[in-house]
Symmetry: C2
Subunit: 213 residues, 2 copies
Amino acid sequence: MFIHREFHSSQAGAAGHPRFFEGIRLSATARHREKELIYAQGDEAGDIYIVEFGCVRVSRITLEGRRLVTGFYFAGEVFGFETGTERQCYAEALEYSGTRTFHLEGRDLANPRIAEMLFDHLESIHQHLLILGTQNAIERVAAFLVGIADRRGVDGPRARLPMSRCDIADHLGLTLETVSRAMHRLQALKLIRLVGAREIVLLDRDALIDLGA
Amino acid sequence: MFIHREFHSSQAGAAGHPRFFEGIRLSATARHREKELIYAQGDEAGDIYIVEFGCVRVSRITLEGRRLVTGFYFAGEVFGFETGTERQCYAEALEYSGTRTFHLEGRDLANPRIAEMLFDHLESIHQHLLILGTQNAIERVAAFLVGIADRRGVDGPRARLPMSRCDIADHLGLTLETVSRAMHRLQALKLIRLVGAREIVLLDRDALIDLGA
DNA sequence: CGTTTTCTTGAGGACGTTCAACCTATGTGG
DNA sequence: CCACATAGGTTGAACGTCCTCAAGAAAACG
């Protein structure tokens, strides 16, 4: 997704306030502290969010109280698409983050950039579905780490993980213990290197993709 | 989803040929034999399908050769939404079926009925994700059976299953043996009754929902 | 009626979960 | 500055669920 670049190239307004993005009026940047709730389950849907900096986690709780983390969103990425009038998911800042919003009207879907965002979102859900439906633990973790590393700009093969093991587990349909073990197994296989708990280096990206693709 | 009723209420053309659906020109009904391929992975995307009768299975194969059945579609339901220009999924008739198509242009998304279809699709994927991400075997099967029964019109609690155990398994991320065992466990629990292998009666819908919701 | 496909059922094993202990990092207050 | 508390992460052992492999039963088909 290349919304990233285009977003940042939007013309600068005074002191970073309401600008336009592809003909859509964006709100001013909202800043969120670590762990701050951005929107809650039950809130009115309709606003779409663009991450300016930081990282956002979007989750959903089932009736049995189990959590599914539907996605993590980094700078330049878009979240907040929901189907009904009420949000089924809730969003939280994983670290100090900035977001901008715009209101999505039905007619806006005719805007090709908006449609592209929606289709990108659809595609990422589909990818997630494929992982949950067909892969085992180590494949899931490999796919996840490659996905994260690919999205963190041009840091090279190094990536910071702003989310906890539990977040990853709830994203991949595993337990946090299994995620921890899988990461250490990937390290033993020399496919990644762990730098503390919250940073990784991809040592053999191709092998990781073979595992997780 | 109520597209069903509206679709059938569209004005009758001569001998059932090109009619309109919410201002969209529909193709004539295409008829597909059992097991017939409707579209293939790699085909050009852009056409959206409406099932007129029968049942369609949409699947996707991973690089490792594993199959995920992304959905089953019955009369009145819509399938064929894809993100890129090339299809990632392929669709097959599970039984003798009829479909109509229309071509989706970007501007059509401004049509609220089209947008509604897309959002319904998004919602069903999300539901699927929730199942694969949080539920165990018996819960998945319970949720699946309720979902099927709810969509098969007003047959009451009885539903025919046009798909095989293997199809169900590949839809739920299980094996066909596990699906078979789960269904017989649900029968032992008196939540369903199996009428042969391809028909079920829901005996305790609420308990099934409790399990699978 | 035999052939083929699909479904069921059993036994054994692998993978992931559960439970528990321990470790590490970070932050707080004395 | 250190003692302690807290949250997150790692590791081990035991268990359970689901998968694999295999055989047999039941439908579907020609």
